[in-house]
């Protein structure tokens, strides 16, 4: 009898029972998981030892360790500002969105028909951004404020007629934003000039200008005459701004800015020690083709009813590759939706009141500081002031710390104070006592409150209304709000409803135990620039997670800073370039990329300043070794890197991977391994042992961070020791490596030093609760599940790309090209028909056009796999009816899928029964998913882009 409670998390994370595993192995004709892996994974890449990780912790034990870490973080009243503010996540939003798997386990809304709920939530976010900034176009979020600024720079550079290669940056901009701009600019040979826009700016020498409004130091300046001068010179004006401040400050579009960017964090998203938060990006309609990231647009479905979808996708890297507008794949969908709901919750009046209160308290604070004899340097402000404290700054900030408040230390003579939604009058009194000598009489809040309160001058005062759309006024009672959120949620397919078999996306379980710590104040309420000694718990979490990831990949050092996979690619490629430069090989700027690579690879390489040379692939999607050798040889003086995905994007373990890495090394290059498919390797093979020098990991795929409907993603990179000095650094927190006295020399790639710390406990908990054996078993079962599906479907659809033994890795590709040729039935028809069966489609037409790529992950059990296969088999027989000529493709049930309730209104005129349309299999009656819309018209949406909330009639019809 065991006396310790046993951890059973592994059996809860891995879907199939031992009995089911045995049945599936039997179906494949294999005796054991070990035998299967032996036949799938080339012998040469097996790692020798099992992972050296601590024994698997139970859920209770893991949570208790995390709680202890959280308790080592000291939550203070944060008045640092710099882009991160205290905010209150309204409780219904916390419970019904942030903590609800219906929202956080959904995927990016590419399958629009099963994504109408989150598309509407994201459209609300766009409307908020458009209203606050005054622009008529906004995207559905970017990674953080600093990268949004870099994306704005790229847009300005692209659309500006000027030949100049210099970006002018307002010196009173958040330092992390300036740092990321410098990193991104340097890689593509753009100069960054930092200075005072009113004194140092020569419009003729620059293509774009970034100003901050309000400034990092709090100052609110009137830029209207400056922007008209810039406009006359053809220069693009970008403004880094603050959504809350814009409730009372004149919107940037009204004073002549061209692009507005910033963070929506203070709209209800916790600081989380730096992230994740949604950045916003707004501009004028004329630049729509150049806007980075996703844009939600309004279109119609097959019945002519309004519906939503992601618009203008051809801008994105999966189509445009090295000519994409950006390398960003992930956004921050979940956080953008929360910010949108925050605005729905508060409405226009609520938001204005919060802004006025914050501003009013700041005025009182400033006035009071004046009364006790201090000089406030900021004359016109929203929520931030700088106080002149000659030679006293360090002492005063220490005193504030002792009183539980973090303020910003500018230099020995100045400190900054930023107020927010959470500031109370008592905090103001605490601040006064910190600043004043004991003998001075304390000011009175009530007396000062009556004294201050003048409004802004006309040039910077907001006159126009905002959030006037009914969605921002109809759901203020919690009853209405909760029902609205539920109504949206039920329109979508997330993992809480059925398997999402998206190839290359690894939609595995996001266990509740992994998610719970995110709501704890000890993780949620830390400012990223809080003194390190207040974040000991986080530092411990980082160190342990870095060690775990090093062990899993075989590398020597990890940077947690990249807050998306694309960011990881960029950071890894920059580390390689910096390494070459340190060796005197600055000219090594060729990046070899196999033709089969994901489009993000070439997009990232372009961003990192590489020239791309494509390497051919053979008919199985494997790298053509002869071509690789030729191209490495031809570029031996300039070869910088090879980017390769392992197992390949076609889901095959390439036998030749070690040889491929050797060829690149022999010719002076470094190997970047894209970890998109790491879920097929964990515990069985180590990327470093394959010959890679750097890899990124998608913690949102392999390590259980949920996809959040299109973000957050987290893309740390792991490197060999020779690249460690070139990992991303940070301008504010130089100790970002976690190693004493080791300050990485690489430029910052994200705004926050550790990217998105709030979601890192998820990856930690997953690894801690699985342990070495659990992780290895998960990988094996992921491979088993994919092979089981391939085996069940192979009699119905050709399976393309398998290894020499006929097995696939952790995903399989079914081929519909022949069907399309003979019947006209397309991949899209099959994908949409799956919705009638209650499933989200697999990845469509990638990596090969005309195919579906299925990745079941280890979390789905045999029953769910069978349900999915039954659906595809049933669909195959529906295709057969077209093949036989029983029904024309144009009339068949696939072409009109998905079938929404609208199909039932009026007489049934289809050439198939409504039974077949809605209940093609008996088992569907148990839990029918009703698609909220019919097939969406992509063409209409792209020809006429509309990215604002449609009129209210849409909501009333949609609600019926």
């Amino acid at each position: 009898m065991e006396i310790l409670p046993e951890s059973d998390f592994v059996s809860r994370h891995i879907g199939p029972t031992d009995q089911q595993i045995a049945e599936m192995l039997d179906a494949l004709g294999v005796r054991s998981l070990e035998e299967l892996i032996g036949r799938v994974l080339p012998l040469s890449i097996h790692t020798k030892q099992k992972l050296n990780l601590l024994v698997a912790r139970s859920e209770r034990k893991a949570l208790s360790e995390l709680r202890q870490m959280a308790s080592c973080n000291q939550v203070m009243t944060s008045m640092i500002g710099m882009g991160y503010y205290g905010t209150e996540t309204p409780a219904p939003i916390l419970r019904h969105v942030f903590e609800n798997p219906g929202w956080y386990t959904s995927y990016t809304p590419y399958q629009a028909e099963v994504s109408q709920g989150r598309l509407e939530a994201l459209l609300n976010f766009q409307q908020v951004v458009m209203d606050m900034t005054g622009f008529n176009l906004a995207n559905a979020s970017l990674l953080d404020e600093a990268t949004a600024a870099a994306e704005a720079m790229a847009l300005a550079f692209r659309v500006c007629k000027s030949k100049a290669r210099t970006l002018f940056v307002d010196s009173d901009t958040h330092p992390q934003t300036i740092a990321v701009l410098q990193t991104r600019a340097a890689a593509v040979s753009i100069n960054v000039r930092v200075g005072d826009p009113f004194a140092d700016l020569d419009p003729l020498s620059t293509f774009g200008v970034i100003v901050s409004y309000p400034a990092s130091s709090g100052n609110v300046r009137d830029f209207s005459s400056l922007t008209s001068a810039l406009k006359a010179a053809g220069v693009i004006t970008i403004v880094a701004t603050d959504l809350l401040a814009l409730a009372i400050l004149k919107p940037p579009a009204e004073w002549g800015a061209d692009i507005a960017i910033g963070s929506a964090q203070r709209f209800g998203v916790p600081m989380g020690y730096g992230g994740p938060h949604a950045a916003f990006f707004a501009t004028r309609d004329e630049f729509k083709r150049s806007v980075p990231g996703r844009i939600i647009g309004v279109t119609v479905d097959a019945h002519g009813h309004q519906a939503l979808r992601m618009a203008l996708q051809t801008r994105e890297q999966h189509i445009r590759r090295d000519r994409a507008t950006s390398n960003i794949c992930t956004a921050q969908a979940l956080l953008a939706m929360i910010a949108g709901f925050y605005a729905v919750f508060h409405g226009s009046n609520g938001i204005r009141k919060i802004a006025q209160r914050v501003h009013h308290l700041t005025e009182i604070l400033s006035q009071g500081l004046g009364e006790i004899g201090l000089e406030v340097l900021t004359k016109q402000f929203f929520d931030t002031i700088v106080v002149h404290t000659p030679k006293q700054a360090a002492q005063i900030s220490a005193r504030a710390r002792n009183a539980g408040i973090n303020i910003r230390l500018f230099d020995p003579d100045r400190v900054g104070i930023t107020l927010d939604e959470l500031t109370e009058p008592s905090d103001i009194e605490r601040l006064w006592s910190i600043f004043s000598a004991k003998s001075v009489k304390a000011p009175s809040i009530s007396e000062l409150a009556a004294l201050v309160g003048g409004s802004y001058p006309v040039g910077i005062r907001r006159e126009t209304p905002f959030l006037t759309h009914p969605v921002f006024s109809r759901f203020h009672s919690e009853t209405n709000l909760v029902r609205y959120m539920r109504r949206l949620r039920t329109k979508d397919i997330a993992l809480d409803r059925s398997m999402i078999p998206l190839g290359s996306c690894t939609m595995k379980l996001n266990a509740a135990a992994e998610m719970i710590p995110l709501s704890w104040s000890g993780f949620a309420d830390l400012h990223p620039f809080a003194p390190l000694e207040q974040a000991r718990g986080y530092q411990r979490l980082f160190a342990q997670l870095q060690a775990m990831l090093c062990e899993i990949t075989g590398f020597d050092a990890v940077s947690l800073q990249p807050n998306a996979g694309s960011q990881g690619e960029f950071a890894g490629l920059l580390a390689i370039r910096a390494y070459h430069q340190s060796q005197g090989h600055g000219g090594r700027n060729i990046c070899l990329i196999p033709a089969s690579a994901h489009g993000t690879n070439p997009a990232s390489a372009t961003l990192a300043g590489y020239k791309i040379v494509a390497v051919n692939c053979d008919s199985s999607g494997n790298v053509d070794l002869a071509d690789l050798r030729n191209k490495a040889e031809a570029n031996r003086q300039t070869l910088g890197a090879l980017m390769i995905t392992y197992p390949s994007t076609h889901g095959v373990f390439e036998e030749g991977i070690k040889g491929i890495c050797e060829i690149v090394h022999q010719h002076g290059g470094q190997v970047y391994i894209d970890g998109a498919n790491l879920n097929a390797l964990v515990g069985l093979a180590k990327i470093a042992e394959l010959g890679g020098d750097v890899c990124h990991m998608n913690l949102h795929k392999t390590f259980c961070i949920p996809h959040g409907g299109g973000g957050p993603g987290v893309g740390p990179i792991a490197v060999r020791s020779h690249l460690a000095p070139f990992l991303p650094g940070h301008p504010v927190v130089v100790e970002v490596s976690g190693v004493p006295k080791m300050y990485p020399q690489g430029g910052a790639v994200s705004a926050a030093p550790w990217g998105s710390p709030l979601v890192l406990p998820i990856a930690w908990a997953y690894i801690a609760m699985m342990g070495a054996d659990g992780l290895a078993k998960a990988t094996k079962v992921a491979v088993l599940n994919a092979n089981y599906i391939a085996n069940r479907l192979k009699r119905h659809y050709p399976i393309v790309y398998s290894g020499p033994d006929g097995f696939v890795a952790h995903e399989c590709i079914i081929d519909l090209r022949k069907i399309q040729e003979t019947t006209g039935i397309t991949v899209e028809d099959v994908a949409k028909r799956l919705i009638d069966f209650g499933f989200h489609a697999p990845t469509m037409s990638w990596p090969v056009s005309g195919t579906l790529m299925i990745e079941p992950t280890e979390s789905e059990d045999k029953d769910e796999l069978d349900r999915f296969c039954n659906a595809l088999v049933a669909i195959r027989s529906e295709i057969a009816a077209v093949e036989r000529g029983d029904i024309a493709a144009a009339d068949c049930v696939l072409r009109h899928a998905p079938h929404s309730l609208q199909d039932l209104s009026g007489a049934w005129r289809r050439k198939y029964s409504f039974e077949q349309a809605f209940f093609p299999l008996e088992e569907i009656r148990v839990d029918k998913f009703w698609p909220p819309v019919a097939r969406i018209d992509n063409v209409a949406g792209d020809r006429q882009l509309q990215c604002a909330c449609p009129p209210m009639e849409y909501y009333s019809t949609a609600a019926e």
């Binding site: 083709r289 051809t314 801008r315 189509i319 445009r320 063409v939 792209d942 020809r943």
Partner: protein, 126 residues
Amino acid sequence: MPKYFTDEHEWIALKDDGAVMGITAYAAEKLGEVVYLELKEVGFRFKKGDVIGLIESVKVASDIYAPLDGEVVQANGAAVEKPALLNESPEGDAWLYKIKLFDVSALSDLMNQEAYQTFLDTGGGS
């Protein structure tokens, strides 16, 4: 009026007042429903192979390449206004540019109708 073709699926034809070019019916069909067209301004000079425009359908963004060296004399505003025209009449109303060719004799380097058809039949289009 004979037409000449490139392996990037563009056609070019000589008229009294200069040359006209566009994309072939085959290319238009491959692209699917065109939603956006971006063309260079009058006076833009280009060399053979330069990117001189962009066509987007819902699924593909495709560059337009210069068939020969020349200069833009006129861009088809009607096609920019109504990109669907490219699907309706790619080799007629939805011409893209009127251009001035710097070397008219270079036309002979391109394919004629027959050669282009053979090019398509032998897999040049895939």
